[in-house]
Symmetry: C2
Amino acid sequence: MSSTSAVPANTSDAPVFARLALVGIGLIGSSIARVARQRGLAGHIAIATRTQETLDRARELALGDSYHLSAAQACEDADAVIVSVPVGASGAVARDIAPALKPGAIVSDVGSVKASVIAAMTPELPGHVHFVPAHPVAGTEHSGPDAGFAELFDNRWCILTPPPGTDAQAVERLAAFWRGCGSNIEVMEPEHHDLVLAITSHIPHLVAYSICGTAADMETVTKSEVIKFSAGGFRDFTRLAASDPVMWRDVCLNNREAILEMLSRFAEDISAMQRMIRWNDGEALHDMFTRTRAIRRGIIQAGQETDAVDFGRPHGTAPAAPEAEEPDSVAQE
Amino acid sequence: MSSTSAVPANTSDAPVFARLALVGIGLIGSSIARVARQRGLAGHIAIATRTQETLDRARELALGDSYHLSAAQACEDADAVIVSVPVGASGAVARDIAPALKPGAIVSDVGSVKASVIAAMTPELPGHVHFVPAHPVAGTEHSGPDAGFAELFDNRWCILTPPPGTDAQAVERLAAFWRGCGSNIEVMEPEHHDLVLAITSHIPHLVAYSICGTAADMETVTKSEVIKFSAGGFRDFTRLAASDPVMWRDVCLNNREAILEMLSRFAEDISAMQRMIRWNDGEALHDMFTRTRAIRRGIIQAGQETDAVDFGRPHGTAPAAPEAEEPDSVAQE
């Protein structure tokens, strides 16, 4: 999915926001900075991050127009503020920036959990700003200002979860910004968002972390064997399991109920599978292994994944293969 | 990893095998056919598969020199036979081809499970052939003769599990063939192979299938939501879960003990994680999420994975990002 094909250009000549403040300049924050600059979505981009080292790096990368160790300072006179920090820190950030926010400013975030972020930030923010929580569903396993890139949001969904009564124009303005970043917009209840993301993002990450731990703990199989033979499938899990530990710790602690519920369902399904294997129920196994293909096809058709053969090689060394044949015509049989 | 850089050319002018018979022409069989032809590893390539449709397709793709519905016929006068069928079918194939095998012929397979395949094939094969079981640890989620490609085995490991007393020259000759295909060679006990592959390949596939099922069964989240927001991580599991159901059914039924043992360990680790979340043990979660990065780094350093940002985009739209920073310096904080 190339950026140009996916992105409606910012039609008006004026940027969506005259002054945009980015609090946190990691993978997401630095990707926003890059795309906003590249596509003219913001006039002045003010960048704030806690550590001098990261701020210096952001300056070296020329990610913004002004650089601040004080989040409040970066937010002064900002038309929009996007907070991109681990969700556990969002309440404290809201408290820090509150005094600096000008009336009518839009305050948003990019947290992977919404209900708890809304609960943490809302009471800290002044009544004269528009709080429009958001979650761009996009990412990689890399962290930090170097990891971002302008195409990260192309054809990915950005979920907005505005509280009841939020100013409609403010919501539309933030939506316009994210559309400019290449995203498709969806509006959801925060609680539903947290449920959907638990199964589409949180559980997959937790399962990936867990299976990597299981492998690392084997007494009978060495780490070097796990690494050498990871092309058999294990490798694909390690990508997710290399994601930012702080971010995922906070996700777990802030979407606790939904995650525990889904982990229980998943554990039940694993038990059912164990039983099929123990009792040699080949038919049930075959059925289970067949029904999942439809989901895969849907994801590819929705442009959320390429069908190119990858498996640890740069795409293009092998042609995109056709959808797998139905089992009864599989040539290997 | 480009094919040319990884592959020691077949130094001698003569092919490794004057006549190579491939029984089964799916993803693996057709990849062997392509690389053997491209790199001059075999003289005559005889192809056998059960269904007329698949045989016709193999002929259209010009994968071999002769095409047979009878595996025995394809194996006549073959110097080497490589059986590439679901492991549950390997015993029957051995019975079929046994009468046609010439003295001194090398018989091998590509099964993901070794102990049960050896138990099924050995009694069927005549004493005058050399049985050298093999497992190239490489694959994609696609099936059938169209899915194969010559680079599939480049810099991937091929595990040989010759029974005690196997002719050393026969083992070396098969190893030379696989090295010509681009593989690195490892020799292992069949039982150890089955244990290693259970954790590096079988469990990851089963977990991927299982989590896709869990998602599909949600009443509160629609399938279209799962698909739309799969970029949050779920998508990565669907690739494994799109693999050939027949192959995986057979793997489960033929590596039962090792898989059940690993699934139990995994289930215990999931329970431990549930407990950390239920009791808000952020420190334990952070530790768990941190230790897995070393494995990821090792896999990338071992050339078993590229570090390019992918996540559903063709590689190259984004630069390879640096290894993620340590959490305490993560810019988002």
